[in-house]
């Protein structure tokens, strides 16, 4: 049995979709451009969408995903047959060129880290592929290319737009735990993210995934040395602990406070001093963390885990219901 479904209407198609151009009997759409029965082209034919070359590869921009503080962010594809999907950041504000470069270099270095758990946690970081210029006529601007991360296509801000009253507290717990685990690794590897805002938390609503993007202001950090942020995200100035907004000095404590602030917002709280509808003991831990009481991600994670067990019982599967997403089969 072979099953293939039309990308346009969902009707079953004939087999050989990866090899030859096939037309759907129901809606008439084709699986690839070209004449019916012809081989699927080795490269994606030019349909007028922007393209550029970098490090010997050509990429096509498929569409706009989001606007970041410095860049416009697109989904793209390496233009080979079955070429990989990518995220492309095109610098919008030229003055932020240093931040785009910093993000790329910081992530490249983190991927080579030998800190404990590196082989697991490095897979949760954005995977840099290329950094270079995109030229069109006289216009030249910096672009960076990263691997596409399956399922991580909505930020916490976007998820919360579907949940104006906040997410269930069990969901808040898994989001925060994933963030703390990742931050525990990056801190051990000597890097502070420095901008853990709801716009920089990407959520996998089905698989209990939460990862960080927006590493442009990440900074090296080590015990006894002060690390300073190059820039603050203007849309989230109140999300930074007040000492950071004033003096710009950051440490793991900063990341943990900002992660806890994300969790408070996710739980439906309207202020970082109030835990809103979250269970009180869990909520108090978050409020203390949001004030900067913790500097060890794993210690905070353990506290969250403990209070969650009291409030909710053992961990369970709690996907976030979002349009288009189905829970895992059998869950």
């Amino acid at each position: 049995m072979r099953v293939e479904f039309c990308a346009s209407c969902g009707a079953p198609l004939e087999a050989r979709w990866a090899e030859i151009v096939i037309e759907c009997h129901y809606c008439g759409c084709q699986n690839a451009p070209g004449a019916r029965g012809e081989p699927v082209p080795a490269t994606i034919p030019d349909d007028g969408r922007p393209r550029f070359g970098l490090d010997g590869r050509a990429y096509v921009l498929q569409g706009h995903l989001a606007s970041g503080d410095s860049s416009e962010i697109y989904r793209g594809r390496w233009t080979k047959r079955l070429g990989e999907l990518v995220v492309i950041k095109v610098l919008r504000a030229r003055a932020d060129q240093d931040l785009l470069r910093n993000e790329f270099k910081t992530l490249q270095a983190l991927l080579q880290s030998e800190a404990q758990g590196a082989s697991h946690f490095t897979r949760l970081l954005p995977q840099p592929i290329g950094l270079g210029p995109l030229r069109r006529g006289d216009d030249e601007r910096l672009v960076s290319v990263f691997r596409w991360r399956s399922g991580f296509q909505q930020t916490l801000s976007e998820v919360l737009s579907h949940y104006p009253e906040g997410l269930p507290s069990r969901v808040v717990v898994w989001i925060l735990k994933r963030l703390l685990e990742l931050l525990g690794f990056t801190h051990q590897a000597g890097v502070v993210h420095g901008a853990v805002t709801p716009d920089h938390v990407l959520i996998h609503p089905r698989d209990h995934g939460a990862v960080l993007c927006g590493w442009g202001t990440a900074t090296p950090w080590s015990e006894g040395r002060q690390a300073r942020l190059q820039a603050l995200s203007r849309a989230w100035l109140k999300h930074y602990p007040s000492t950071v907004s004033r003096e710009r000095f950051v440490s793991p404590r900063t990341d943990l406070a900002m992660a806890a602030r994300c969790a408070l917002l996710a739980g439906g709280s309207r202020s970082y001093e109030d835990f809103g509808p979250l269970p009180p003991n869990l909520g108090m831990v978050l409020v203390l963390a949001a004030r900067g009481h913790f500097d060890d991600a794993w210690e905070l994670r353990e506290k969250v885990d403990r209070e969650s067990a009291v409030a909710h019982g053992p961990p369970s599967y709690n996907p976030i219901a979002l349009p288009g997403w189905d829970p895992l089969p059998g869950a």
């Binding site: 049995m1 072979r2 099953v3 293939e4 198609l13 087999a15 050989r16 979709w17 990866a18 090899e19 030859i20 081989p39 922007p50 921009l61 569409g63 706009h64 995903l65 970041g68 503080d69 410095s70 416009e72 697109y74 989904r75 390496w78 047959r81 079955l82 070429g83 990989e84 999907l85 095109v90 919008r92 504000a93 030229r94 003055a95 931040l99 991927l111 590196a118 082989s119 697991h120 490095t122 897979r123 995977q127 592929i129 995109l134 601007r141 691997r147 596409w148 399956s150 399922g151 089905r206 190059q230 820039a231 995200s233 203007r234 288009g324 997403w325 189905d326 895992l328 089969p329 059998g330």
Partner: protein
């Protein structure tokens, strides 16, 4: 080559008998088997037959160095029947499997060993266990590019010639790629005259005309070291597994996804669970396959909402306070 019927039960019986036996008792070759030498072999053929009218060529190029010998060993003692069963369960009725052994072209005595395409369990098993697990594995990268060269230039497959469908090439390894296919090594090992070395990127282009190539890395620790180097060449065709035992299921899953035998990853996991694969292993296989399934847009996630791909112009505003 490639006549006969595949029998899962017989194959399980054959491999399970070996599970308590040492690797050296299963792989008894102490030098390259005469029939596996690649010198002047012409073409390895993967042909249709009455019993197998829709043959699909599957080549396993297995790194047989010390750090990677575990995969051929586990295939011979545990997991090859699982691969064949998963293929049949996925609707690929007539797979024909050829094994190659890959070592180091400079330091090994048998850097490339090649079997034949087979569809019966005993013959598949014979070629697999005739492989010489030379060990070694220090002082340079294994010669994976020679396996690509052999697959591209020394195989002929009815799946491609008659039906325009590519075969599958699974290379297992844990070393960075070599930059070129060396003309001197090709001459030494296979007897072919090449005018000059072939850049690896060109070799990969060539092998993709007839095969769907994949590079399988056995675990995340080795993936962290080498996957990025291979990804530059192969993109998401580099699969980082969570353990060498997943090789069979991961390979069969790739074939099933590309053949359209399963609509997406979730359906593949359901198939694996129904076939008795543990929840833990099914999930590990799904995780390893997720990036490539995303490339196929078969990862079971909704397509992202995309706006127009219009590029920014002029001097755009920064959202940062300096």
């Amino acid at each position: 080559m490639g006549y006969g019927n595949y029998s899962h039960d017989a194959h399980v019986a054959m491999t399970s008998k070996r599970q308590t036996v040492n690797t050296s008792e299963v792989f008894t070759q102490r030098t390259c088997h005469e029939l596996m030498r690649p010198m002047n072999v012409g073409k390895r053929e993967c042909r249709d037959s009455e019993a197998h009218p829709n043959s699909v060529g599957v080549v396993f190029a297995l790194d047989v160095s010390g750090s990677m010998g575990e995969i051929p060993s586990r295939l011979a003692t545990h997991t090859l029947p699982a691969f064949m069963k998963a293929m049949l369960d996925s609707g690929v009725a007539d797979p024909q499997v050829m094994f190659m052994g890959v070592g180091h072209a400079v330091s090994d005595s048998a850097p490339l060993q090649v079997g034949q395409f087979e569809s019966t369990e005993s013959l598949m098993d014979q070629w697999l266990t005739w492989m010489y697990l030379e060990g070694g594995g220090s002082g340079g990268n294994e010669s994976y590019e020679l396996a690509m060269y052999f697959a591209a230039r020394h195989t002929v497959m009815d799946c491609f010639e008659k039906r325009g469908r590519r075969g599958y090439l699974f290379i297992t390894g844990d070393e960075p790629p070599n930059p070129v296919v060396s003309a001197a090594q090709v001459k030494n090992l296979m007897g072919d005259d090449l005018e000059k070395d072939i850049p690896l990127a060109d070799m990969i282009e060539e092998v993709q005309r007839t095969f769907e190539p994949f590079y399988l890395i056995p675990d995340a620790a080795r993936g962290q070291k080498f996957a990025w180097l291979w990804r530059k060449l192969l993109g998401d065709r580099v699969i980082v597994m969570e353990g060498p035992d997943d090789t069979s299921y991961v390979s069969a899953g790739l074939v099933a996804l590309l053949e359209g035998a399963v609509p997406d990853l979730a359906a593949l996991v359901t198939r694996l669970r129904e076939a008795g694969v543990s929840e833990h292993q099914s999930a590990a296989v799904a995780r390893a396959l997720t990036p490539f399934a995303a490339t196929l847009e078969r990862d079971g996630t909704p397509p992202p909402t995309l706006g127009s791909a219009t590029l920014p112009e002029g001097e755009g505003q920064s959202g940062h306070d300096r």
